[in-house]
Symmetry: C2
Subunit: 200 residues, 2 copies
């Protein structure tokens, strides 16, 4: 029996669900954020800027979002045109670009981020906390296996710690920013919420 006598069905099934779930989630986030004049990509950039205290370098944004500096540059270009952010080159090192939110960007970000949090809370509601932990662990296992091949310089053993730190940093920022106490984040936004008490 060779490796490839293993059935392909579960592999294709998992692969199909990762693709579809990511995509319907992304589309729904864009659909909700449109009401706030933002795309999901723009919200992500604004959240990294907020996380970095109001100004972030293109490279910081790219690192945090795990995207290429090039793709972040293109998003930032469109955001400058939309009046959401401003850009400034470092006087000494001209390669370094700083990005800050404009007042228009800041005004869209607060309620947009709160609506985003309300959305993710809502769509994960059918899963218990144990389910969510299982889901995250299984996905991380696949992610680490991908990184082993695609990025051999990454120390896979450190990935869970890096993920946990990023999560803790995000939560600290969220708590300090006051974003969670905005009405939308409390589930009183435009979109219906079906939550009551959940114990599974």
């Amino acid at each position: 029996m060779t490796a490839n006598a293993e059935p392909l069905t579960p592999v294709l099934k998992s692969s199909q669900q990762i693709y579809q779930t990511y995509n319907v989630l992304k589309r729904y986030k864009d659909q909700i954020l449109k009401e706030y004049g933002l795309t999901l990509e723009q919200l992500s950039v604004l959240s990294v800027i907020s996380y970095f205290g109001g100004t972030a370098r293109i490279t910081d944004i790219a690192d945090w979002l795990e995207r290429s500096a090039n793709s972040v540059s293109m998003i930032v270009d469109r955001m400058v045109k939309a009046g959401l952010v401003s850009r400034k080159r470092d006087r000494v090192d001209r390669r370094v670009v700083y990005v800050s939110a404009t007042s228009k960007g800041k005004a869209a970000f607060g309620p947009g981020y709160a609506a985003y949090i309300e959305l993710v809370r809502r769509v994960f509601q059918p899963l218990s906390q144990a389910d969510m932990n299982t889901l995250a662990d299984l996905l991380r296992t696949v992610k680490c296996e991908v990184l082993k091949y695609s990025n051999p310089e990454v120390d896979i053993k450190k990935v869970p710690r890096i993920d946990a730190k990023k999560l803790a940093d995000t939560e600290r920022w969220l708590n300090e920013s006051g974003l969670l106490s905005l009405p939308e984040a409390k589930g009183r936004g435009k979109t219906k919420s079906k939550t009551t008490h959940r114990h599974r």
Copy 2:
């Protein structure tokens, strides 16, 4: 206790892993497919064309990939320029556009798809079949919850059956196409494979 007294951590953790896993997977697929002169998007379009027997309408491709006709049109534009596909309008209904693979597109597709299958087999290897089923079920639950809000006209009860049909159709096509018997799909491609027997 309101819904939002529920801890946010597991939600953010699952959300983080869906985003990251999708993205590292996409990047790795693009990295491997580059060796075959294709992007992941281009491979997807070529696979739908192959599935439809050599020619597919833009709307078929969009439906199958669950993307907008507009975004598929843009991908097809670039593929025409790259010489991978040709495009033809229906003589009677000019809104209908048929897309076929060129000989260059066909030549890239076979080995590219085989390498793609080898890649997905490899990255899911650390998961048992039961793990993969759990992963797929948890993701589908989230997907259905998203669809309930984003696409209220979708009959959620039918989603598992639709997914299963799509998977069965894909497998039938894969078996009939002979793509799985190409060297790359058998794990004898350029990239290393660590598989031996797995029983968990």
